[in-house]
Symmetry: C2
Subunit: 557 residues, 2 copies
Amino acid sequence: MTIERSKIKWNGWGWTAHKDPFAGRDDLWTWLAEQLGMPSLLATPARPLEEIAIADSRLNPAERQAFAAILGADRVRSDNYERAFHALGRSYYDLLRLRAGDLSVAPDAVLYPRGEAEVLSALSFASENGIAVVPYGGGTSVVGGVSAANGPFRSVVTLDLSGMDRVGEIDTVSETATAEAGIYGAALEKLLHAKGVTLGHFPQSFEFSTLGGWIAHRGAGQQSHRYGKAEDWLLAARVATPKGILTTNAFPASAAGPRLTDLIVGSEGAFGIVTEATVRLHKWPEQSDYRGYLFRDYASGIAALREAAQDEIPIAMLRLSDAEETGFYRAFGNAGKPKNLSNRLADAYLDARKFDKRACALIVGYEGRASEVISSRRRFGAVAKKLGALSLGNGPGQRWYEGRFHGPYLRDPLMDRGVGVDTLETATSWSKLDALYAAVRTALETAIRETAPMPDARGIVTCHVSHVYPSGASLYFTYIFPRALDREIAQWQTIKKAASDAIAANGGTISHHHGVGEDHLPWMAAEKGALGIEVLRAIKHTLDPNSILNPGKLIPS
Amino acid sequence: MTIERSKIKWNGWGWTAHKDPFAGRDDLWTWLAEQLGMPSLLATPARPLEEIAIADSRLNPAERQAFAAILGADRVRSDNYERAFHALGRSYYDLLRLRAGDLSVAPDAVLYPRGEAEVLSALSFASENGIAVVPYGGGTSVVGGVSAANGPFRSVVTLDLSGMDRVGEIDTVSETATAEAGIYGAALEKLLHAKGVTLGHFPQSFEFSTLGGWIAHRGAGQQSHRYGKAEDWLLAARVATPKGILTTNAFPASAAGPRLTDLIVGSEGAFGIVTEATVRLHKWPEQSDYRGYLFRDYASGIAALREAAQDEIPIAMLRLSDAEETGFYRAFGNAGKPKNLSNRLADAYLDARKFDKRACALIVGYEGRASEVISSRRRFGAVAKKLGALSLGNGPGQRWYEGRFHGPYLRDPLMDRGVGVDTLETATSWSKLDALYAAVRTALETAIRETAPMPDARGIVTCHVSHVYPSGASLYFTYIFPRALDREIAQWQTIKKAASDAIAANGGTISHHHGVGEDHLPWMAAEKGALGIEVLRAIKHTLDPNSILNPGKLIPS
């Protein structure tokens, strides 16, 4: 169930056929301009592909023929759409360049292998001939993970794995499955569902990202509290490298030295290309229950999350919005509309209960056996009640669930109107969480103000705790800001650097689930330490001695 | 709370003061001889240290002075007791040699550092001067993990970490603690208990093993189902290497490339020496409940374990003995005694319920909040009942719990009487578990018979499932056999090889929680693959370029 590349936007999010949900909603844009301290928003459409010049492919005829001999001529593509589609990922920085028509990093060809043997042969040829290879799954990286950078080489090919999407054994006794890494999330879950099981990995990019991509960037689904992050559910992998196939074992546990699977999760295509993965499954949940709570403030919400995580209440998802995010989504939903009766009544009720603008909304999801869902809901409900939270029932949970993959679609309409929007995420221990939260928020707000196009312009910075653990939690920031159109790349770099420096200075990881890519590379040396980077470099050198794989990602040069 | 080396046996298990529980129990030995098909058991006492020749220390005066300058003269020891104590670990193969007085691998000196800086300096000197270094925690390795092998070097020092036992921060907000790696299990848990928390790592060696040792060999406590294996509870480490300190991060989760902590767990002192660890804690359990069930056969017991693991019923321990182990312990307890009334009644009851010699005993342990213990007990009880098991109540659970660290004390009395006893463990997926179980059992029984000292002699082979996971389980075999005294090392090697080959051929890992050491090294290349071994070697070369650390362990040369 490969997705035709032509049906997905090459310079934005998702299906080409997807309609702008805000077309004609001028009221909304007027409201947003006000929030951003701008007199109005400008039209900033993306440049169409037809207008954009793409440099000639730097592959020579012999190289092209060699790849065609390995893959078949129809699987070696270098038309403009393929090269533009695979030039970059879907980060804010990528979108700025794609929309402006900067395709300076387009690959010289896109290869579509159909199996491990073809991947190995292509890698072997590329390694011997000094051609960079960028592995590509769904291409939804938001950190510059698939930029077609040629590094020190003359040329670069992107190796698109989406043609490798066969599912092998689904072992319902051991609750494991083995599949080729290029399979899309939706295709994989459809086959698993038919057997009554699920991987349970549902990131926001679910429809457009692949199993191999999830592994390569060490991703987390929205329900990873129940189903695990990639490092938890990946049991074993087959990895094609210029030195041959590296295989790891799917033992449930082992003491035979370090687990090599752990080196593959998060390796970002720099050590090799995951061709096949064996993953842990769960039974398809008998029941799913998503609901909302309103906490009086952020601190009481955090206390509830910590208690739930440390008491190991079986929960699928806990997502606590800070006061700004809670307020923003409420205002965004109502923007331009007259207050209806139910809104007024809700406001009055909250006032009477002394919930004010410090209130924080939580979405909690339960999945599993019906009896367990009931028991967990009761246990978490007691925690929430003890901490003074108001139950909002199923409504907010259902709305969140229905829209859980739609967030990224909001970015293109904003980008069309001179507005920038980016997200970043980190994680730290519960002890350090408050300081990290405050520091990153301040860094973002300050940097946005200082780089704004007009004196009174400002950003909207929202945050939610997206994933919780017994020892700590992740923070997911979204920031919306008026673009300084004459220096928009420098503006973003300044903001990104300010936030990332604040993360590093306050004991956070530079990424909780987006990965490293090019965007986070400058912070890797500090996070891993000099000797740690040496270790990563030694692993890479062993598997990819000519350093052809995904240049400029994961390991600082 | 360092344990004085003189208070622990240098050639056996545990406290020197521990009394032989079977002294004067000739009835028991007569019964055991019968079980082993032997006419009688021979007295095979260990040689006393005074009779054993130990070669002179190969350290030259300059080297000795250099270590003394780093550590202080009293922390550089080379008396016979220290050298004998640190020569080997506590594997069966080690005991054979220690008891026979073979101290050919005794270290040339034992170093007792008091902190990371001293470890670093000692490593640096050793690396520059070509002296092998063997890290040593409690020395309880049962796979040859601490043999003082000098590898290609003239001399070898053992670095005993037990003097590094300070506990740093106990963070009850994040439920983490940081401690020096040389701390003994009991000392660590005592300090944690005072703060209302626990690491929950209780291996059978708990009293005599250290935090660093647990990490180095990727160990599992008996209750790892609740508290995790070392790879689950280790959040971060500081590791002293000849190239300096490698530090890893304690983030609750991260997508910033592979997690370096995962390379440290199971590194067996071959990459560096863990000096400090940050670990995940749990609240001290409000309630503990251990109880027994009797399953009609092994298959129904396995079915219950799989359902409990895959349904994620919160359980601390599941330990299912096979029919042979169930029968052996029952017979061992009754050996030489006349059947009393309660035994007769129990037999009659089991007969009436049609439990026969295929019956398998399960010990299940619940720990945590009282409400959760009750809920889990009810859930697992329903599973057990559905599968036809008989509840045995708390008695068997309490007896198991009280004796949970005593097992290793049984070995020395057996060794004193011409009887060999060893254990081995593996793990695989539920799908492959039955085949693995049958193959290892057959390999052990056959090899014991073929290497036996007399034609009718035979072994006793018992097994229990010691740890369960959603995707599979571990098998823990104990085998007792009459020693062929004229070729007892070759006999053991033949049996060990037969079992290990069966494990490798049937999809098991060569170790679930004992580690690699010297004993499992021959099976590492097949398990990790040629490229995997290259990766491990590259990591070692980066951190220990002169390969002085723990020669002959972890990585095949």
